[in-house]
Amino acid sequence: MLQSIFYGLTIGGILYITSIGLSLTFGAMRIVNFAHGMVYSVGAYGLYYLSHSLGLPFLVAALGSLLLAIPLSYVIERLVIRRLYGQSIDYAIVATYAVLLIGVDAIKWIFGPNPLPISDPVGISLNLGFLEMPVYRLIIIGLSFLIFVGLSIFFKKTIVGKIVVAGLQDREAVRSLGINIDRYFAIVFVLGSALAALGGVLYAPLSTVQPYMGFQVLVLTFAVVIVGGMGNFRGTAIAAFSLGLIIALTGRIWGPAAEAMVFVVMAVVLIIRPIEV
């Protein structure tokens, strides 16, 4: 039981890190960004390429693939997202999904369709007798808490964060102060994408990397965003960890149902509290 809770927190941490960007883009720009899943897989594949093919140490490879995600997401923002502001949300869905398809296929082209393994970079477990805790998973949980605290400070204390929060509430009012809000949203977009890549990097050693991993995580992160509320930082965190726990605990009772359970929760939330988008 404790073991399952521990695993659930790990999944929750990764879901949280991956979902922030999606929640922010949604809250800030009213754009559903399917391309988010692509950046996530690029993070994981970047890690695979740098650490396995080039033989770099894990930390360097992880940083390298995060750095790779930044220009990539900037290009996506510039070429696709920026052209969709204020337009029918259907086209945003279609266009960003198209980016996801292109990314998935490019990955298949370069790395082949088969899953690739990445080994646990730490490889040590803390054994407490009743509970075995791989250190790598502990690091993930710790990192997700650090990011939560860091983002809270970022949005409360820094001027960039404050502008973004204000822009989330009333975009026009911020613009009338002479602030180019789109530029700040672009920063947030790149930040969120880099975090998605981090999610991919962190998840890769727990499982294998495969071309459709972005698609799978995307549906889960959407569930997180819908359960937690769009553009709601704290809600996203709570939803991510709760859903992570639900996945792990359901998986303990009946393995195959683990991810399906998330959608049941999401459906219930939607019925109780329909969102207006």
Partner: protein, 306 residues
């Protein structure tokens, strides 16, 4: 010219029938039955998207429900092809009735993603818990009774029967969109609050439209099960939902001819170009980007203007 055809229902039926006849006899009737099934599916999807303005990202769920409805009916009840088709439609309609009241309240992204989530759930249910009934990943193979010339294993008969189904759907679609009901739907799409202000219960109309959409998708799924003589999980795979969206957008949403053109064009690309396009998903992605930015009215929009 396209506009004039679209405005006259008998002419539309004639043009659609002629198009499939010419295409079928100049290539192969066997392949064109696939095209017809997919076109019915596009029309079903377009009922929700084009008429009601709700983009679903999980319409494969209703298609798959139709396939499995037909398949399970043939195995467990009676292997009559018409009963199977009816069962498929009932499955599609039932899912629409259960999920519709919740789903149609949602808008935009929430509607799209909730459909996707339900599709994932349905896929999982078919794949794992119901595997003893549905055959899991392997699926089930089917055989149907034949009565004289009514023989679903003969592709000539299938072609004519499916074409008749398509023409029936086209006819009904046009009747719906031309009736006050269709005008009402478009009004709701434009401004729902005003329509409610006039005293109409928009929720009921939206659920009805959604059920029509899922029933048509179920019909397409059932016809496909009869066509393939088997069902498996690829018929309910959520990642394939993008195909119907692509076809509907490419043809031009919101009218019959657009949906038919989209269905035919998509299937043509998949049948004949897919062999040369090694990177199928990349092609699909680039084409979707092009549609989203440059071709919003679809083929119909381009051709009707010229």
């Amino acid at each position: 010219m396209l506009k004039r055809i679209e405005q006259s229902p008998p002419l539309t039926l004639l043009v659609v029938a002629a198009a499939f006849f010419v295409y079928g006899y100049s290539t192969s009737l066997f392949k064109i039955t696939d095209f017809i099934i997919f076109t019915i599916f596009v029309l079903g999807f377009d009922m929700a998207y084009g008429q009601m303005g709700k983009l679903s990202f999980g319409h494969m769920l209703y298609y798959g429900a139709g396939s499995y409805g037909a398949g399970l009916c043939a195995i467990h009840v009676y292997p009559d092809p018409f009963l199977a088709i009816l069962a498929g439609m009932i499955f599609g309609a039932a899912l629409g009735l259960i999920l519709g009241p919740v789903l149609v309240k949602l808008k935009g992204a929430a509607f799209a993603l909730s459909n996707l989530a339900f599709n994932q759930l349905g896929y999982f249910l078919v794949l794992v818990p119901f595997a003893p009934v549905t055959g899991g990943e392997d699926g089930i193979s089917l055989s149907f009774n034949s009565y004289g010339f009514i023989d679903f294993s003969d592709f000539n008969f299938r072609f004519y029967f499916y074409l008749a189904c398509l023409l029936g759907v086209v006819f009904l679609y046009q009747r719906f969109t031309r009736a006050p009901y269709g005008i009402f739907l478009r009004a709701t799409k434009e401004n729902e609050i005003r329509v409610r202000f006039l005293g109409y219960n928009t929720q009921v109309f939206k659920v009805v439209t959604f059920v029509i959409s899922t029933t048509l998708s179920g019909l397409a799924g059932a016809l496909n099960a009869l066509n393939l003589q088997f069902t498996n999980t690829s018929l309910i795979d959520p990642t394939r939902s993008v195909e119907v969206i692509f076809a509907a957008l490419m043809g031009g949403a919101g009218n019959v001819l657009g949906a038919v053109m989209g269905g035919m064009a998509f299937m043509t690309i998949r049948q004949y170009l897919a062999d040369y396009l090694v990177r199928w998903e990349m092609f699909l992605g680039i084409a979707l980007l092009f549609i989203a930015f440059k071709l919003r009215k679809g083929l119909y929009g381009v051709l009707a203007k010229g």
